[in-house]
């Protein structure tokens, strides 16, 4: 868990070799309820930090997912099309949504680490 960085909108990002893997936090997955569909972006699209990058749908709600960092979409998790419940089951693992080629590593510094996010969540209660 400690390799994840979080946003205030409950996205997480994990960076490997300049590629940022993005998904939603356990907290967000719990709040959304049963995920029924994830609308993913086209590969090749570039997105700015905080730009809309995906939409997660439950039966009665649709929530935009914002990019924690800027970059170009290099891969999307097509497995979610067949089994969107993975987002609920493993939000920070197999439930990842998008992989971006990072365009500005400095943006990572603007995100919360796991401890800071935990504190942030406690503040929301």
């Amino acid at each position: 868990m400690s390799d994840l960085k979080y946003t205030e909108q409950h996205e997480w990002v994990r960076v490997n070799d300049g590629v940022a893997e993005i998904g939603i936090s356990d907290y967000a997955a719990e709040q959304l309820g049963d995920v029924v569909y994830v609308e993913l972006p086209d590969v090749g699209r570039t997105v700015e930090q905080s730009g809309e990058i995906a939409v997660v749908e439950s039966v009665k709600a649709a929530s935009e997912i914002y990019a924690p960092v800027s970059g170009e979409v290099v891969e999307v998790n097509g497995a979610l099309d067949d089994d969107p419940a993975t987002v609920n089951a493993e939000p920070t693992g197999k439930g990842w949504m998008v992989r971006l080629k990072l365009s500005n590593e400095d943006e990572l510094a603007t995100l919360m680490d796991a401890d800071a996010y935990k504190t942030y969540l406690e503040g929301l209660e």
């Binding site: 569909y37 439950s58 709600a61």
Partner: protein, 448 residues
């Protein structure tokens, strides 16, 4: 007032429970100046008999289609609706229910919608259909907007032989959304080349089949040209009965099919309410407008139906919804579905064949009248004649003789003088050989 149950004593007791001295205390948030002190300048309450008398008098001033030889089409068609249909749609449980938001006590409406969606998909030759739109024209406008979402392009090519009211509804809906339209002029002989107008910025081509003059065409080559540029083909059908006889838009390569479903189960009603049909390919389901009913199971594992994929809709997605539509044409869809069930495939094919045979017979008969020329070579139940006089004059003269003989194209295309002598004539199973003979005789008299 017969619809209001409270007695004065009920009202007094209720005000007492509320703790209000009089009814206007409950309106205390209304600015005092705006609260009306006197009644509106309108007639007082009327008995059932009195209302019936007044409205019947207004109705009697109109010429009901069933009372004369009647040949008007152009987007609405007079077909026979079995008595069973009207009886069933007036059952309280269908007529006076709301949108099925509580599925446990709305399975009647929901199963009907599931059956309706399946019937529409089969009829149009498509994968999926929604639970209805307002009418064919608004369905067409929604299709154009959907094609823009699917392709992320904003240029739409409109056939000149699209019903001009449909064209105008599409243009109006596109006025403020940044869409660009390529318009074509109407050509009764149907030789427009739409394929040549498709480029790699084109979202969709909209074409009507049969077109507003009645022409049928094979859209397969157009579909291929459209797909080659990554655009979508939207096919509009205003006479749904044609689908019982004519190759389906789906089989010709359509990506979205929109249709006016009035012909099946619904009366003319002076233009509404009607029922818009909307069908597309499975891969575009999430871009569809309107309600969708889907199959699922209940807590006991029993099969049932719910409204689904609601995240596309305005009540959840708000400004990002695929459409603003909420109330649609539920009861008209029910009428459509019941009539289609009564017909069945066998009945629909036979009905279509009767319509076609009648139209061919009348077209051939009328085109024998001196000076009259049949302009539509291949048609279903509607065709266009060129007359040796202005069509307006002829249609009016026929009306004088008690025959509602068709639509003069100058009404649909005002200002286009190539339309002045054209009249478009629809024939359905309701027309008799006597109607045909009367039309022929009257036309000969008017033109002589």
């Amino acid at each position: 007032m017969r619809y209001l149950p409270h007695t004065p004593q009920d009202r007094a007791e209720m005000l007492a429970r509320i703790g209000a001295a009089n009814i206007n205390e409950l309106f205390k948030d209304v600015p005092a100046d705006a609260l009306l002190n006197e009644r509106l300048d309108l007639p007082m309450a009327a008995s059932e008999m009195a209302v019936e008398r007044q409205l019947s008098a207004m109705a009697a001033m109109n010429t009901a289609a069933g009372t004369v030889p009647f040949f008007i089409g152009c987007g609405a068609y007079r077909h026979h609706v079995p008595a069973t249909v009207d009886h069933l749609i007036q059952r309280s449980e269908f007529l006076t229910a709301y949108t099925p938001y509580q599925p446990e006590i709305s399975q009647g409406t929901l199963q009907v919608l599931f059956e309706f969606q399946t019937q529409v998909a089969a009829l149009t030759g498509m994968d999926v259909a929604n639970a209805s739109m307002y009418d064919g024209s608004t369905a067409a406008a929604e299709a154009v907007m959907m094609a823009a979402r699917v392709t992320r392009r904003q240029r739409t090519v409109l056939s000149g032989n699209l019903h001009p009211h449909y064209r105008d509804v599409i243009l109006t809906n596109g006025t403020y959304t940044g869409e660009a339209f390529v318009k074509n002029s109407p050509q009764v002989t149907d030789d427009e080349d739409l394929a040549a107008q498709v480029d790699d910025q084109t979202a969709a081509v909209v074409v009507q089949n049969p077109d507003v003059f009645g022409n049928l065409r094979d859209l397969t080559p157009l579909a291929e040209a459209v797909h080659a540029k990554g655009a979508l083909l939207i096919v509009v059908v205003t006479e749904t009965v044609s689908l019982g006889m004519v190759k389906s838009p789906g089989a010709m390569g359509a990506d979205i099919v929109v249709a006016e479903g009035q012909s099946i189960g619904n009366g003319l009603n002076f233009g509404g309410p009607y029922v818009g049909l909307f069908a597309t390919r499975q891969k575009y389901v999430r871009q569809m407008p309107g309600r969708l009913c889907g199959e699922t199971t209940d807590a006991d594992g029993k099969r049932g139906y719910v409204l689904t994929l609601s995240t596309r809709e305005q009540h959840i997605r708000r400004e990002k919804a695929t459409s603003n539509i909420c109330t649609n044409s539920g009861l008209c869809a029910l009428a459509f579905s019941i009539h289609m069930t009564l017909l069945g495939e066998k009945g629909l094919r036979h009905l279509a064949a009767l319509n076609h045979a009648g139209a061919v017979a009348l077209a051939e008969s009328l085109s024998e009248v001196p000076g009259v020329e049949l302009m539509t070579e291949r048609f279903f139940n509607e065709f266009t004649l060129r007359l040796p006089k202005e069509a307006q004059e002829v249609v009016e003269a026929l009306t004088e003789k008690g025959i509602l003989g068709g639509v003069r194209m100058s009404r649909l295309f005002p200002g286009d003088d190539t339309m002045d002598t054209l009249v478009t004539i629809a024939v359905t199973e309701t027309n008799t050989p006597e109607d045909f003979a009367a039309y022929r005789k009257a036309l000969e008299e008017v033109l002589s």
